[in-house]
């Protein structure tokens, strides 16, 4: 995606950052937050100011891709059948579902991202990040808190400041935490690696049916770490 601002066709001017609502059958959807006060769409059939604080982007029939430009801080709601969803810039609360296709978001205040088959990638999320995919990986840079549910595929979360819950059916999980709130990771089959800040003394409950968990940090009460797998290796370590 280039850095050029979206400048085109239909536009509506809104009094404050609106909620952008988009639903379409197929074709990629890109929403880019940028320094502007209006909402524009390239490739859409039209834009409607709904009046309840939201802007509805009406998509064309077929599989045409659409690119939407909006003010920074907008909330975004996207539902699509097939096609990727890309959310660029600094956005507010984002919710996106797709049957098949990847979801990518850069910087958001909160997120609920769901793909049936497709990977999910999120740069940073100030608050709760919820991600679910049946088949595909989940990759998160940083989040205030996170809930990740995955069928098959890997989970990588560089840093979660608050509470974490990961449930993965099969696939490896690698997470890093702030070491202050509860972290819970469960897999049916797949290795689990939890990294904690240096000096963190966690209260760890670890259980693997296939091998003895390796817990490196000294025990304490800084945070609760619960890790369970039916089949896989468990490592809790200091970063």
């Amino acid at each position: 995606m280039d850095d050029a601002a979206i400048d085109c066709c239909d536009a509506v001017v809104t009094p404050r950052p609106p909620e952008i609502r988009i639903s379409g059958n197929s074709g990629s959807i890109t929403v880019k937050a940028e320094e502007r006060s209006d909402v524009v769409a390239d490739g859409a059939a039209g834009i409607e100011w709904v009046g309840d604080g939201s802007v509805k982007v009406v998509l064309s029939k077929g599989s045409k891709s659409v690119a939407v430009g909006c003010p920074e801080g907008c909330d975004v709601v996207v539902g699509t059948n097939s096609g990727s969803v890309t959310l660029l810039g600094n956005l507010g609360a984002v919710r996106a579902t797709t049957l098949s296709g990847a979801i990518k978001a850069e910087h958001v205040t909160s997120a609920d991202l769901r793909a049936m088959s497709g990977s999910i990638a999120l740069g940073s999320c100030e608050g709760l990040c919820r991600a679910k995919t049946k088949s595909g990986s989940v990759r998160v840079g940083s989040a205030g808190a996170a809930e990740v549910m995955i069928g098959s595929g890997s989970v990588e979360i560089d840093y979660v400041d608050g509470a974490l819950l990961v449930r993965a059916v099969s696939g490896s999980v690698r997470v890093g935490g702030g070491g202050r709130e509860r972290m819970e990771v469960e897999t049916m089959s797949g290795s689990i690696t939890v990294s904690l800040p240096p000096g963190c003394h966690p209260d760890v409950r670890a259980r693997s049916m296939s091998s003895r968990p390796r817990v490196e940090p000294p025990a304490g009460e800084d945070c609760e770490v619960v890790v369970r797998t039916l089949s896989g290796r468990i490592v809790v370590r200091s970063a």
Partner: protein, 197 residues
């Protein structure tokens, strides 16, 4: 509360349809074996039957899932939330991974013997695909029914947006429903000790 069953015709009823599904059941069976898998199903079955409200029924057993019917949306939704609470409580004590997801939709269903069929049944079956383990996801039709009868203080709703689901021509607004006190599933768990096996 009296059930609000409405008979539209000799073979058509209105009500709430729920589908449940145990996430990872195939993997669990592969790792733990058939005996443990049967135990997991038995636990799910016991908990569900114990919490079905009056007038509700298990329409069909779908292997690791269940097809449930409720005479009204409110009792169906409250039962679904109760079930998730009971699954998590059971998991905490038995260590069985009851990663159950539930989808709920309100509409009309056509009787076919003991079974129910129809578009609204198909919608409910798709809604469960959007839910994750421990979640209850409902359609706008359920929310509309609730709005007719109460102020919704018993539950918190979070819109997931217009969702396009396989085989359905139009997007349907879906909502994730929780009890207000349990925004994070981890918040429900208590007690800890350093314990490695």
């Amino acid at each position: 509360m009296r059930p609000t069953v409405t008979a539209i015709g000799p073979d058509v009823v209105t009500g709430a349809v729920a589908f449940t599904d145990i996430c990872g059941f195939t993997e669990f069976t592969a790792v733990r074996g058939d005996v443990e898998a049967l135990r997991l199903l038995a636990v799910q079955d016991r908990l569900v039957r114990a919490r079905l409200p009056r007038g509700a029924r298990v329409v069909k057993d779908l292997g690791d899932g269940l097809f449930l019917w409720f005479p009204d949306a409110r009792s169906g939704l409250l039962a679904a939330l109760d079930l998730q609470d009971s699954f998590q409580a059971e998991e905490a004590t038995s260590q069985l991974p009851l990663w159950v997801r539930i989808g709920l939709h309100w509409g009309e269903q056509t009787r076919r013997g003991h079974d129910l069929i129809g578009h609204d049944v198909n919608v409910a079956a798709r809604v469960v695909d959007v839910a994750g383990p421990t979640e209850v996801v409902v359609t706008e039709a359920v929310v509309s029914q609730l709005a007719l009868t109460e102020n919704g203080t018993e539950m918190a709703m979070e819109e997931l947006g217009p969702v396009i689901m396989k085989g359905l021509p139009d997007a349907i607004r879906l909502f994730r429903v929780t009890r207000p006190r349990s925004r994070h599933p981890a918040d429900e768990r208590t007690g800890s000790s350093r314990d490695t096996e």
